[in-house]
Structures are given as structure tokens and as C-alpha cells.
Subunit: 492 residues, 2 copies
């Protein structure tokens, strides 16, 4: 077991000057990351190391098989006329294995095509939580979903996945996490406290037939918060369950907070999800169907997926539960990991080698090292990853830029590109970052509304249009449609 | 005549550190700007002065009558339900006066409403040259007009102005001006040498009736080049005409360059425009109509408008010619100004007090002052403005931010907002800058294509669509449509 010391500077390049006093150090020791005393000598080499970071950190890059392919060959391979993703197969005979019953043994290297296609499906659900989110601070609906549940998949062009959305999830937090909650600049908004945080969906009959069971999906939205945000979480583990398990306080706060005074979080995200999942499981089990639960999420969403899986396994006996996460940070301690394992939760984590977020929390500041020393020695307080890992590497794709790119390395579309070995429509990678080589001629950050959503009104003036009434979030609407939705289940 | 010394730093804030060695000094002496020996003591105060620049430069702000209006009152005034601009009146009885026959005496302060409306019309033509321009370096048509002549005004929503485009203008340059020419990153493009540079249009029968004569318009596209670009022009005056007149070499190069090897500039911009204007004048004069020529442009476009007016006045006797320019730099020397005046060309320059471009060229570097001293004393070599000036001030509008904003101060939409005293749709100001106060909740830089022009093809992949065949620039098409267009004139 080699122990490597590497200096990480985890801020964006633009803030280098501001943060020269802050040095972050990591001791890499398999999956457990703790912080040793810092080397002050390293401070001056900080900016230099930033550019070297990639090389320092990466040993034995997996699957770098296309690195030597010349560009002319690559561009021949790239064409616009193929299908935009790998084909789907009927997997009903082997769904338990694909769902992780054997911990994906022998399915990951090389990646088994049927598993690949399922990972992509769930990854698209995770991506959808970003694509549908209203990020516009000038919108009165900032922080909500731009579409209603009925047209959600259709608007995003992923209705072919064969699922229907049953419920939207809203979350708040009792602790201050400014980079997490998106708030409108306006005074009068749909909600001052809550954000739309994802959805519960269920497979339709055709998809159910293909995959061999009724599949309930929970997709959790992540966040584009900078790495400092994850750093701030460190050493705030709090107990969960009845044993020694501890999880990150910030994640748990988002998952469990509620407040009677709010419109969307009179119940917590946890309660909303568990209530819906339990109803669905009961409903389909009573019809004699086999049911599974698959929880997915990218980044922060992957962390929430783990908390959700822990609770679901504790609450619903006999339910096959998998977590399919992308670029997720560590969530809890070793006891948390062991309990998940004992409860039979299967976890598959997609990790891009160059992505920093999966290394969080675990980066420790100088100023806090002394306090940290006092508590090392007890594994209760060390964050650890759980489950199986699918290693991905930016250098395995000839379409991706090699330069340091915090946003690009962490982007969910980069993950999906690498999982699908570049069969998935390559242009998607650049939706919200600048990660594709220039030769492809795909603009960067191209996922944008025409005129930022402004339209011309009857008088010829440019205005922000009213949202369609059915797309306006409403707590009343949620429960109304709830009853309506259960009617629907009888016919799916 | 007070002589004021003021230090200008004409770079963008981002390059402050790079340019600390370059100090620019201006001596303001009415309309003639020359450079005195620099004060080296000033170097260290450069960054400081940048933020103070506005206050140093502005004395007696004109029309600051709304400065003290409170925001609550302002927001009441601002509504989405009015017409998006001042109304048009029938001006046929007084068109010569509006067109400048009396040098706009008594029409500018206060601005006469009929004149205001005409300035806005021409200003919209100048703005249209930006709105229709293909800036996308990944487009094979980068540097061309995105629309064809027949649907040009319709696509931009200004067909109500009552003009028809007759001809597109293309320009190149024999001298290297990298910030001027927009080039595609692609190998195979519509043109490697030329850019679309504007259009010739003519009033239709209805508009002709309203304004009392057949009006030919030439609109010249400007550029968003930084101020350094204009600085680089200094002291490159070259002779024009038969007398002492001299004009900026760079502007003249764009106006007159041609090359047999190119597709779009076998003839120069000058030849293209003059050929078309002469045909139109002949055509309508033979029908017994009164004809006028109005040449407009913003920034560099305003400079080209002056060169164009000089040539037109020299070529076509008896034609009433006006230039309506916005934020244009100086173009030539005093002899050039005097010749334009003697030929009867009427020039109305809109100048925003805070805009730097109208002060260019005229800013002189330290290192060139010695050489400059050798040539002072002869007015042949001093740039000067010509014609009447309509003074505008950012501080006269309660909707505009006060902070230093090079781009916002120079933006043509800011000009149009100030000319129309905020009656024109206010949201337009933020199309390509961040100039509106936050309370208005208008996103900044909102003029953008959906998904940067990418669309989903039949396979579900995101691709750059083919341009409609009629919107693809073609030299052959130009001459074909030329004949076709003249057929049309008989029926307009």
C-alpha cells in the first residue's frame, strides 16, 4: 500500500491570488483520506502545482486505449448520422445481476454493454435534474423545475426511457449553505426556502417488461457549487441510525430539514420521497409485481442518494435497492459504509479520475490541522467511499481536452460521454462546459434559452413571459396530481 | 476657451497590469485633440484614475433632468404595455430641415420630436448590421449576414420602417487589422478575406410619402474592437481628394480595398456602394422623384459613413446627403472637415459623453510623443470631428447604471435609448451589455440564439444546421438578385 503525498489546491484558477494563504494537503491511502500536517514550504509552489495537478495525481490511467489515435481517424469515426446512444437490449433475465446483486463482479472491466446502457439511463435522469432546473435569479420561479411532471421527460427529450414522473421532491436546509440554495433576486417568489431537488419516477409497462421488474427511480439534483463548498463540510459528521454510523451534517440537513412555515417543506425531502416510494412499492407488490428501487444522482445528488438508500433499506424490507451515482463526494464514516453493505444496498459509483469532487470531503486546511490531529485514531471520524467504483478517465476519449478544467472534469455530461465510450451524442458534453477539442467545432456552454427567455409581447416590447399555469409549482397542485397519478398507475 | 488636461487610460480593466507602462494623455481643446508631453508622475495613479475617469471628464452634463427621480417613481413610469418607441409623424413638408439643410439649428436642444424619430430609424438600421452579423467563429459563414436581403428587415423586426434592402456591402482591408475582420475557425468558409459590412436600402412608397422624398440609406456595420484598436490608427493620415484633406489610413483601407483573387471584393466597398447609389439615384430621378441619401453607422461604421459621404458628394451633384452617426471616432483632418462642409454634406453625430470611441484617434502614447512634437504646428495632421453634435449623457437616464462600463457606454442600444429619452423598449439596452439597473430585472447580454444555434437532427444528435440556401452569401447571387431588384423598383 503506497502512501503518496500530494498537494492539492482546490480553488478555481481565478481565485489563486486570494487563496495563496490556504494550502490544502491530502494523504492518499486507498479509499480513506485524512490530512497530515501541512508543508509550509509548499506554499510558494502553489500556482505551479495547479497546472501539474493532473499528472501528479494520476497513476495507471485506466482504459487509455484511444490515446494514440490520430485526429483524422477520430474525426472519421465521428459522424452525425448514427443513433445518439448505445442500443437497448432486453435484460429481464439478468436484471438482478445488472442491478448489482453480485456487486457488479466481472461486469465493470470491461464494462458489460447491458450494464452500460442501464447506467446511461439513470445518468440521464440525473442530468435531467439540471436541464430542467430554473437557474435564472431574475425569475420568480428561480430554484424550481421549469416543467410540470407530466411533460418533464418529453420536454427534455428522454421520454423514450419509458418512465413516468410520479412526484417532485423539494428540499431546504436548517444550516446556512449559501452556494446550495438558488434564490430569486425578486421579492415575490414561489418559495424563499425550498429548491426543487429531484423526482420519483416509475417504469411504464413496456420498460418494465424489458427490464424484468417494476423499477422505481429517485433522481436527486446536484449542485454546481465550487470545491470550497465541499471543503466546508469537513469534520461535521453526525450520527445516523442506531449504531456508530455517522454522515456529513450538511447533506443530512438537506435531506431531513422541514419547517411548518414553508410552502414546500412542511415535510422534509426524506419524508416526501419515502412516502411516495412506500406507496408505490405497496401498490405494485399488491398487483403481484416484482419491484426494485434505483436511486441516482450526480455530485451532491449522489450524496443524497446514499442517505436515501440507507433510509429506504432500513424502512422497506426485501426491496432490492441500488445507488447509481456520478462524481459524488464521500458521505459518511466506515460504520455507515458497513451498515449499507449489511443491509444489502448495492452502490455503483462512477468516478472520473480527474474529477475533484469524489475526493471531498477529505481536503483539510492548514488552520484546522491541529484540531484534526486530536481526533485521528478513531475511524468514526474519517469519511470513506462505499460500494463498487467504475473508474473513468478523461484521457480515454480523444474528443476531450486534456487541460485542467474543474468544471469539465466534474460535469455529468462528461461522465455520460465516458461511460458510453463516446457513442452518446458527443455534442452534449459541451452543454455547460468547454471540454470538447476545438476540432469538433461544438460551441462551449451551448445549452441556453433563446434571448435568455425574453420574448416580444403584443406591443413589441421584450418581456419575461408568464410561465404556463401547469408549470407553476404549487404545493396544492402536488397533492392534487398525487391522487390523479395513482389513478394512472392502474393503466400503466 | 478653457484648455483642460485630463489623463485617460483607454484599456479595459482586465489589462491594467499589462499596460501600466503605457500612459495616454489628452489635451481637450474644443473639437481638436492633440497630445502634449506626458506626465510620468501620472503613471502610478493610473489604476486609480480609471475609476475616477468619468468624473474627471464630464463637465456640465447635458439633460440630467431625471437624475433626482426616485426609483419607485421610475419603476411606475416603466411599463410593458406602451408602444416600443416614439410615434411617427408625417414630415414631408419639412424633410429638408429634418435632413439637416440648416445644420439642425434649433432642432437639437431640446431635440425636436420629428428629428428624434428619424434619428431612431437610421439608428435602427445601424443596429441591424450588428444584430444580423454572424459572429460565430465555428460557423462556416462567420463574418457574413445571417439573413438574405429579402427577409433582412423582417427577421429583425424592423420592417415597419418601410425600407427595402437593395444591396449588401462587403469589405476587406489591405492592411492588417486583426480585431476588425471576423474569421471563421474553419478551413472551408464562405470567404477568407471579406466581411459583410452593411447594406444599401431604399424607402418604399408609403415611407416615401411620409418623409417627402425617396430616401436611399447606406448603413455601415461597426466593430466591437477594443479602444487599443483605435489608438493604433493614430497619425496614419493619408491624403484624399485633390486638396489638403487627409483621412485615417485604416478606415480608408477598409473602404477602398479590393483584390481580384477574392470572391466578394473584386470590387471595393466604395465601388459597390457608389455603383448601387448612382443607379438608384438615376432610376428615381428619371421617374421625376426627389431623392436623398442618408448614410448611417455606429463606431467604425460611422467613420466609413463619412468617407462614403465625401465620395458621394464628390460624385453625384445636387444630391442632398446626410450622415447620421453614433459613437463614431474622428476620421480626418481639418481640411477634410472643411471640404465636406463646402460640398454641403450634413453631418449629425450622436455622442454619449461617457463613450471613449468618439475621442479616438487622438490618444497618444508616451513613446511616440517626440515624433509627434515634430509634426505639430501644421493642422494637416490633427484629427478633428465634423458637423453637428447631439450630446447625450448616461446620467440623464434613471434606467442606466452609473458605474464605469466601456462596452455599455459605447453600445448602439445605449445610444438609441438616450436619443429616445427611454421611450424605446428599455430591455433592448441590455442586449449585448450590462447597462440597465438591476431593479429592472432584465438579464444582461440577453441577445442570444437558442442553444447557440445547435438543433437536433433526425437521429437525435445535436448539430449545427445547414443555412437556408437563400441565406448563403454568394457573389453570383448578388449580381443575379441585383437585376431582379431593379425589376422590383418599378413596382415599389
Amino acid at each position: 500500500m503506497a502512501i503518496t503525498y500530494t498537494m492539492i489546491h482546490s480553488h478555481l484558477p481565478a481565485t489563486i491570488n486570494d487563496s495563496l494563504n490556504r494550502v490544502s494537503v491530502i494523504r492518499a491511502h486507498q479509499e480513506v483520506f485524512v490530512g497530515p500536517p501541512s508543508s509550509n514550504r509548499a506554499t510558494n509552489r502553489l500556482a505551479e502545482s495547479l497546472s501539474n495537478l493532473l499528472h501528479l495525481h494520476i497513476e495507471n490511467p485506466p482504459r487509455a486505449r484511444t490515446t494514440n489515435v490520430s485526429w483524422s481517424l477520430v474525426s472519421q469515426q465521428y459522424n452525425h448520422s448514427g443513433p445518439p446512444m448505445s442500443p437497448k437490449e432486453i435484460i429481464s433475465d439478468r436484471w438482478r445481476e445488472i442491478h448489482g446483486s453480485n456487486d457488479w463482479d466481472n461486469l465493470l472491466d470491461p464494462l458489460y454493454p447491458w450494464l452500460r446502457r442501464e447506467i446511461l439511463k439513470y445518468g440521464e435522469f440525473a442530468q435531467a435534474t439540471y436541464d430542467a432546473f430554473d437557474f435564472d435569479p431574475f425569475s420568480e420561479y428561480c430554484g424550481s423545475c421549469r416543467f410540470n411532471r407530466d411533460n418533464f421527460f418529453g420536454k427534455l427529450g428522454i421520454d423514450k426511457n419509458g418512465y413516468k414522473v410520479c412526484k417532485y421532491i423539494y428540499a431546504m436546509s436548517h444550516i446556512e449553505m449559501p452556494k446550495w440554495l438558488k434564490r430569486s433576486h425578486l421579492v415575490d417568489t414561489w418559495s424563499k426556502d425550498s429548491n426543487w431537488m429531484g423526482f420519483v419516477a416509475v417504469s411504464d409497462d413496456e420498460e418494465t417488461h424489458r427490464i424484468g421488474r417494476r423499477d422505481i427511480v429517485v433522481a436527486w439534483r446536484g449542485t454546481v457549487a465550487p470545491l470550497e463548498w465541499y471543503e466546508d463540510f469537513q469534520r461535521k459528521l453526525e450520527p445516523i441510525g442506531h449504531g456508530d454510523a455517522k454522515v456529513e451534517h450538511g447533506f443530512q440537513s438537506i435531506y431531513t430539514s422541514k419547517n411548518e412555515q414553508t410552502r414546500y417543506n412542511k415535510t422534509s425531502a426524506s419524508e416526501q420521497v419515502m412516502n411516495e416510494v412506500m406507496k408505490l412499492v405497496k401498490f405494485y407488490r399488491e398487483k403481484g409485481e416484482e419491484v426494485s428501487l434505483t436511486i441516482t444522482g450526480h455530485s451532491l445528488g449522489g450524496a443524497l442518494a446514499l442517505l436515501n438508500a440507507y433510509e429506504a433499506a432500513d424502512t422497506i424490507p426485501g426491496l432490492p435497492i441500488s445507488v447509481i451515482s456520478f462524481g459524488a463526494p464521500r458521505v459518511g464514516n466506515i460504520a455507515f459504509r458497513d451498515e449499507l453493505h449489511q443491509m444489502g444496498v448495492k452502490i455503483l459509483r462512477m468516478v472520473v479520475n480527474q474529477d475533484f469532487v469524489p475526493r471531498m470531503p477529505g481536503v483539510v486546511f492548514n488552520e484546522s490541522l491541529q484540531m484534526f490531529d486530536e481526533i485521528t485514531g478513531t475511524l468514526d471520524w474519517i469519511y470513506t467511499h462505499v460500494g463498487a467504483e467504475l473508474k473513468l478517465d478523461v484521457r480515454s476519449s480523444p474528443y476531450l481536452k486534456r487541460g485542467f478544467n474543474l468544471l469539465g472534469f466534474h460535469s455529468q455530461e462528461t461522465y455520460l460521454h465516458l461511460v458510453d465510450d463516446a457513442r452518446r451524442d458527443i455534442a452534449l458534453v459541451n452543454k455547460a462546459c468547454d471540454m470538447l477539442v476545438d476540432e469538433l467545432r461544438i460551441p462551449h456552454c451551448w445549452y441556453q434559452l433563446e434571448n435568455k427567455g425574453l420574448v416580444r409581447n403584443a406591443h413589441g416590447r421584450w418581456v419575461k413571459p408568464e410561465r404556463d399555469p401547469e408549470d407553476i409549482p404549487s404545493p396544492v397542485g402536488e397533492s392534487h396530481v398525487q391522487a390523479h397519478a395513482f389513478e394512472q398507475y392502474k393503466f400503466v
